[in-house]
């Protein structure tokens, strides 16, 4: 019995030891967290996880395609080593993020990870990756808590090139209050970290500007009947509904809103999650007049049109909105950091210290990228925030083209 206990204790101790970071020396590099050795001729592996299935597939696929283009722009190599992107499906759920991150973290040769698309996936996935010593650079997860000052230790290795929602919320609240002149607003989220934290931030900013939040509601992503919620909101007669929920919910909301007479004059502002042609089919004729807050590709760097052409010739179709540009930038930041942190020995093998790589990523300053100039703050927010308000002007899904439908109305 005692022996079994002792064995168990020893086993537990050894498991703990492997989990905790221990300084490691390999070749010319000593690193607190660990060192990845890439033998000459082998590729540098970079993990990627994004939504490859589910309602946000367009976004997830574009993000990884953007990242592929960033590798191609670097001639497919960094420091003379071929770069390989290992894409995984994180869906847009916590479970998906966890599965994908666990799979990537299981490969000790992976030096860094880009992704995921959704905050729920990042919430579950980023700590798993960081516990394996892999920093991750998100291209879609925008929830403020992920880079908040009081975030748990597991998120220390989480960076993002997509703007924090706090910036988007502030931008939207200012637009609604000052440009649209609305004084009362209602919000709807769907219980996901992204939508909930975004509406909370919007509510705070809108109230600080002097507006009133008359109703703060929630639905679940699988809800199809939003009439009761809309009826409840209509009793407060808001001038605006801010709801950064996803495509199907926005479709139901816009279609059913017309059945509630008291909401006839109420405007709707959605989030960037519906920046695609799918929302036009989902909402039908009611999509006309829908405004969304989203990244503005016009305000991206002047290299963006060149990128769009390269994207078209590589993948045979135009990118959806600006998603692919964030994918590009996440890879660009990672490659630049590998350039700084990688060391070669006499035989031509490459050694990358995990802590050194992380430090190099966090030290990113004035990096000219596709979405603007990237610079990381101490919490891992590296984005060049460029927002705009877009308005859908036609219910024909084939007319979808950022700039024409939806049209940029502000700034």
């Amino acid at each position: 019995m005692t022996r079994t206990l002792a064995c168990t204790a020893a086993l537990a101790a050894s498991l703990l030891a492997t989990c905790a970071f221990a300084a490691e020396t390999l070749g010319p590099v000593t690193d607190e967290i660990g060192v990845v050795k890439i033998t000459k001729g082998d590729p540098i592996l970079i993990g990627g996880y994004s939504s490859q299935s589910g309602g946000d597939t367009n976004q997830g696929i574009d993000e990884l395609r953007g990242a592929e283009l960033a590798i191609l722009d670097n001639e497919g190599t960094v420091l003379g080593f071929e770069v390989q992107l290992l894409g995984e499906d994180a869906q847009c759920t916590a479970e998906g993020g966890q599965t994908a991150a666990t799979k990537i973290a299981g490969n000790p040769q992976v030096v860094a990870v880009i992704g995921p698309t959704c905050s729920s996936g990042a919430r579950a996935g980023a700590p798993i990756l960081w516990n394996a010593g892999m920093p991750s650079v998100a291209f879609g997860a925008t929830a403020p808590a992920l880079t908040a000052a009081d975030r748990p230790d597991g998120f220390k290795g989480f960076l993002r090139v997509v703007p924090n929602d706090l910036l988007g919320a502030d931008f939207t609240a200012t637009y609604a209050f000052e440009n649209l002149g609305v004084k009362t607003a209602a919000t709807i989220h769907d219980g996901s970290p992204y939508t909930e934290q975004l509406v909370r931030a919007f509510e705070k900013d809108f109230t600080e500007l002097g507006g009133t939040i008359v109703s703060s509601e929630a639905v679940s992503p699988t809800d199809t009947d939003l009439r009761p919620v809309l009826t409840r909101i209509s009793t407060k007669k808001p001038e605006l509904i801010f709801t950064p929920v996803f495509t199907s919910t926005v479709g139901f909301l816009l279609r059913q809103k017309t059945e509630i007479t008291d909401l006839a004059g109420t405007q709707v502002i959605g989030g960037e999650g519906v920046f695609s042609a799918n929302v036009i089919e989902a909402a039908g004729p009611n999509v006309v007049g829908l405004r969304i807050v989203g990244p503005s590709t016009d305000l991206f760097s002047d290299r963006f049109p060149v990128f769009v052409e390269a994207f078209k010739s590589e993948f045979g179709e135009a990118p959806v909105g600006g998603f692919s540009a964030y994918g590009y930038d996440s890879m660009l930041l990672t490659l630049k950091a590998i350039e700084t942190a990688g060391k070669t020995d006499d035989e031509g093998n490459l050694y990358i210290g995990r802590k050194a790589l992380y430090d190099a990523m966090m030290a990113t300053k004035d990096l000219p990228a596709l979405t603007g100039t990237l610079a990381c703050d101490e919490f891992g927010d590296c984005s060049a925030a460029t927002y705009a308000i877009w308005e859908f002007v036609s219910d024909d899904a084939s007319t979808f083209a950022p700039g024409e439908n939806p049209k940029r109305v502000y700034p």
Binding site: T57, A218, L226, R227, P228, T247, G251, A282, G284
Partner: protein, 365 residues
């Protein structure tokens, strides 16, 4: 009888119950009391809060009946198969999804000819027919693959097979049609609303509810009045005895699946008529709801499935407004499903046979 005698009798009864009851009975009683208090408290609070007008409640109820009739149509498929095979067909929700997609393609081609907008009364029956035909065909195929081989074997294999087929249908449809949400085209005047007694009611809800009633009545007529229905009732009573008196059991089972699948196809089209958007994954949730409705009403009982569907729909539509509002919960609509499924759990605790079900004799159970 004097007052003293009455109170003595009551005391006797209570003492008698107390003597014979065991701790489980006490626990059940306690749960009943707690639930009743919670419900009454919520109701009182909800009505006192006065967030909604009577017209709001009426429109919620109307909507509850509409979605409830869709649940009822799905529940019928579960309950018919259960009545005959004592097995749940877990692929049934996905049969509905496939029927809905068949309706979508029919509606899209009719819309290309301008028929859906100009003559919705001609287009809708055609779309329904497409949904019914494909639903029935898929359902019969499921019977062939997952149930027929195990007809004379006592095992859970058909159940597991059906779950597998449910994935096959879901991901097959995903491969064929993609994951994005698809929308039905507009149905002309059927998109509008009518004013009834001061209420604004969307026409699709009325059409869906009416169509569901017609289909349900047709189904009841088949089961009660035709030789086929008689055979179905006989097989569900005792399969071996039915075979002995010359009923073709396999054929009857195939027809049962076909009718259940057709009902699911109708449900899929009516659902799309009300909600417009469909996805390849919608079968799962709606299937669970239909299954819950079948259990609620008493599985194996046709009338029970209809009642269960309507009750579930009404509970979901009215529950958050009536009950949860009273507790001052923020965003009560997130908890809509809690009400529906909570009710299901309570029914299973207090009336395991369902609202209209009878206690199964040992032989049938």
């Amino acid at each position: 009888m004097t007052a003293a005698a009455i109170s003595a009798a009551v005391r006797n009864r209570t003492a008698d119950w107390w003597r014979r009851s065991i701790w489980v009975d006490h626990l059940m009683l306690a749960i009943r009391v707690v639930v009743a208090v919670l419900v009454l408290w919520g109701l009182a609070g909800g009505i006192a809060a006065g967030t909604y007008s009577a017209a709001n409640f009426a429109s919620f109820a109307m909507f509850g009946l509409t979605i409830g009739s869709v649940y009822a149509l799905i529940a019928l498929g579960y309950t018919m198969v259960y009545g005959i095979l004592r097995m749940i067909n877990f692929a049934h929700g996905d049969v509905m999804m496939v029927g809905s997609f068949a309706g979508l393609f029919a509606a899209s081609s009719l819309s290309g000819a301008g028929l859906t907008n100009d003559a919705p009364l001609i287009a809708l029956p055609l779309v329904l027919a497409a949904g019914m035909a494909v639903g029935a065909a898929v359902s019969v195929a499921i019977e062939r693959v997952a149930y027929r081989p195990f007809l004379h074997v006592r095992s859970l294999a058909p159940l597991i097979c059906a779950i597998g087929l449910s994935f096959v249908l879901q991901y097959g449809a995903r491969g064929l049609f993609g994951t994005r949400n698809r929308a039905y085209p507009g149905f002309g005047w059927m998109e509008g609303t009518v004013q009834v007694a001061g209420l604004t009611i969307p026409i699709p809800q009325i059409v869906a509810f009416g169509a569901a009633l017609v289909v349900l009545a047709g189904l009841l007529a088949i089961v009660r009045l035709t030789p086929l229905g008689k055979a179905m009732r006989a097989v569900s009573e005792d399969r071996d005895a039915a075979a002995l008196v010359g009923i073709d059991v396999s054929r009857t089972i195939v027809f049962t699946f076909a009718i259940g699948g057709a009902m699911a196809g109708v449900a899929g089209v009516l659902y799309a008529l009300v909600f417009k958007q469909i996805t390849v994954f919608m079968g799962f949730f709606l299937g669970i709801k239909g299954f819950a409705a079948a259990i609620l009403g008493g599985i194996g009982n046709l009338g029970g499935a209809m009642l269960g569907g309507l009750v579930l729909g009404l509970a979901e539509a009215l529950g958050p407004a009536l009950l949860l509002e009273g507790y001052g919960l923020p965003a009560p609509y997130q908890l809509k499903d809690v009400i529906g499924y909570g009710m299901l759990v309570l029914i299973l605790i207090f009336r395991p046979q369902g609202l209209l079900g009878e206690r199964l004799a040992a032989k049938r159970a």
